[in-house]
């Protein structure tokens, strides 16, 4: 007989917190856990729908139990039982501290400076961490149009740190974006028409030092150097540095690579699969545990 969710809760600490082997997890799980690792225990996180949300919910069970999650529709520190499909889902509002609206989240929390980490998606990114979620080609006659900013440009410029999760392809990792929705460490100064460090464009504002600090893709994890230029930090298991350079539209700095992205641990996978997304809304499939782990769960 299958265990109830409460019975499964009692198992968590008996599941080894050791890295799973390749083949025992799938890519979306690796990415969700890589997201979780970006979260610190004292973070106030402003997150978008999808893998960012799932990763941060996982972190609440593992490495960042006290991290606060803000959802842009007005939810402050929702404690969910069932994974939300949208940032306005009543599931996300469960057990929240306060419930307000966009003026609360973008004004009182974000522009007021409370948000320490933003976690966002993106369609394309430039080597300075500038993100495009608007259009490819001519803005007025785009070859491809995306949804547009949403909260991306607000959160990505006013949160202390921002991490992006992006599908990596050569046409999405660019020297310069066709349209910059969310400026990275270098951007246009529209008053002087010069391409400048963000610190100069935002000089004097409280947000001059806020910006992108990490990028998680399907191939690796990236950070930014002191000049605001992206570099590869770790490559995912099974992906080579050569392959990553091929999936990049500019000459990527790989001189500071630390090694392989930490593989998710059995305990992290257990939390993600059994408590965060058991309905398989974000995860495409249920993956079997190795027999030794399954035996601990069933015992």
């Amino acid at each position: 007989m299958a265990k109830s969710i409460e019975q499964l809760m009692e198992v968590i600490d008996r599941i080894p917190d050791e890295p799973a082997k390749n083949g025992e997890f799938i890519l979306p799980e690796l990415m969700a856990i890589a997201v979780a690792h970006e979260v610190r225990n004292d973070d106030i996180v402003f997150a978008g729908t999808g893998l960012p949300m799932v990763g941060i919910m996982t972190a609440n069970f593992t490495n960042a139990p006290k991290a606060t999650l803000i959802y842009e529709s007005g939810i402050c520190d929702g404690k969910t039982m069932h994974v939300p499909m949208s940032v306005c889902d009543q599931r996300a509002a469960n057990q929240s501290s306060t419930l307000g609206g966009l003026v609360d989240t973008f004004g009182y929390y974000l522009q007021q400076g409370y948000v320490t980490l933003g976690f966002l998606g993106g369609a394309a990114i430039d080597k300075y961490g500038g993100v495009n979620v608007t259009s490819i080609g001519d803005y007025y006659k785009p070859s491809h149009r995306f949804t547009g900013s949403g909260g991306n440009s607000d959160i990505g410029t006013m949160a202390k740190r921002t991490a992006f999760i992006i599908l990596q392809e050569k046409r999405r990792f660019l020297e310069r974006n066709d349209y910059t929705t969310t400026p990275g460490w270098w951007c246009w100064d529209h008053k002087t028409k010069e391409w400048k460090p963000k610190k100069e464009v935002w000089k004097g504002t409280p947000f001059a030092d806020c910006g992108p600090t990490a990028v998680v893709t399907n191939m690796g994890v990236y950070r930014f150097d002191k000049d605001g230029i992206i570099y590869l930090e770790t490559y995912h298991p099974g992906v080579t540095v050569e392959k990553i350079k091929e999936g990049c539209g500019f000459d990527l700095n790989v001189s500071m690579v630390k090694g392989e992205t930490p593989r998710p641990t059995y305990r992290e996978l257990f939390v993600l699969r059994e408590f965060v997304d058991p309905e398989l809304i974000f995860l495409p499939q249920k993956t079997d545990y190795p027999p030794a782990i399954q035996a601990i769960i069933d015992k």
């Binding site: 966009l102 607000d154 410029t157 974000f282």
Partner: protein, 351 residues
């Protein structure tokens, strides 16, 4: 901008058909309540507007929803001032048909950001002509090249609902805190707000997230409230701190149970993700879309008939439970929702 009024409004109770006929005129600027396609979209109102053949709308909203999806599907939108042309996140991110209309030049799209639109409605609500906001300096949102309404020759000052500039970037003049962007207030003709309950005098409330619905209600000239239920005004006065909209902003009240379907009304019913995925699938080509519209918009005799067509099984599955405010019976993903007594992260880690 403040509207100095000599006399107060008196909210009248109308049917859905009457409210659309009286307030949803061709060419007006309109804003809808809720958030994306998932929460408190006044769908029945947009649906009835589509049936009455309303056209040339200027929709001004913080994002797409089931309402904009429907109105664009029947070609009713001419200008769309927004920050997110998606509509259903995990059930359909980009509005495929809106994208088609945009690429065909049928819709003028003006891009802002979420925070910017919230601030614009806040300015409209408090009667301020504009509002300063920091984000996002250096974004192409604030490059004059990308002012779509200006490019279309619509920022002449002739239309009282379209600001003469998309934005102004200026040095912050009081404290020396760098540059800041000034955004024009949003002050549309009509707000359509879907709520849980409205008193028969017009006081209204919802549960769950507020999005920017209170700001919209104050920013617009006319306000139509669509309520799951109209209750005696005395009922609304028991816990006044839980109400958001005072009666004197409201022009009309419509009682329309399940009027936000397929979006949710917390504590009444959940969103219908499979139904939204089917809408998304239908929008992928014009003939499927036409079939969908004929079946679901032009087919039913009225909204009640639409619900009858939906069927009791579906409505039973979507009915919210009284503790969580949502349904755990609806299949949203590939597996059913587990039964839970409390938030497990709290059980493990506390608050």
């Amino acid at each position: 901008m403040p509207r100095i009024r000599g006399e107060s409004k008196t909210a009248e109770i109308l049917t859905l058909e009457e409210a659309v006929k009286k307030y949803m005129k061709n060419g007006i600027q309109v804003a809808f309540s809720g958030f994306t396609g998932f929460n408190r979209n006044p769908v029945a109102f947009a649906w009835e507007a589509a049936r009455q053949g309303i056209k040339d709308l200027h929709v001004i909203d913080r994002h797409g929803s089931c309402c904009t999806w429907l109105l664009n599907a029947v070609g009713a939108i001419k200008i769309y001032e927004t920050d997110w042309m998606g509509w259903g996140e995990m059930a359909g991110k980009l509005d495929i048909n809106l994208n088609r209309s945009y690429l065909q030049g049928k819709v003028i799209l003006e891009d802002y950001s979420h925070g910017a639109m919230a601030m614009r409605f806040l300015a409209g609500a408090i009667g301020a002509p504009f509002i300063p906001y920091y984000a996002p300096l250096g974004s192409d949102l604030y490059d004059v090249k990308y002012d779509a309404l200006g490019r279309a020759g619509l920022r002449t000052g002739k239309n009282p609902k379209i600001a003469k500039k998309k934005f102004i970037q200026m040095e912050e003049p009081f404290w020396g805190d760098g540059d800041v962007v000034l955004l024009p207030a949003a002050k549309p003709d009509l707000a359509v707000i879907h709520v849980a309950q409205a008193g028969d005098k017009g006081t209204a409330k919802w549960r769950g997230v507020g999005t920017i619905d209170k700001e919209i209600s104050f920013a617009c000239d006319k306000v139509v409230v669509i309520a799951e239920e109209i209750v005696p005004e005395a009922e609304m006065r028991k816990y006044p701190e839980s109400n958001q909209i005072p009666y004197f902003t409201v022009d009309a009240i419509v009682e329309c149970p399940w009027g936000a379907f397929p979006s949710s009304v917390p504590f009444y019913y959940d969103y219908d993700a499979p139904f939204m995925r089917a809408m998304d699938a239908a929008s992928r080509n014009e003939s499927d879309l036409k079939k969908w519209l004929d079946e679901w918009v032009f087919g039913p005799k009225n909204w009640e008939d639409f619900l009858v067509k939906l069927g009791s099984k579906r409505m039973l599955d979507l009915r919210a439970d009284s503790v969580t405010g949502y349904s755990t019976r609806m299949m949203r993903g590939k597996k059913p929702a587990p039964r839970m007594k409390m938030a497990l992260s709290v059980a493990r880690s506390g608050y």
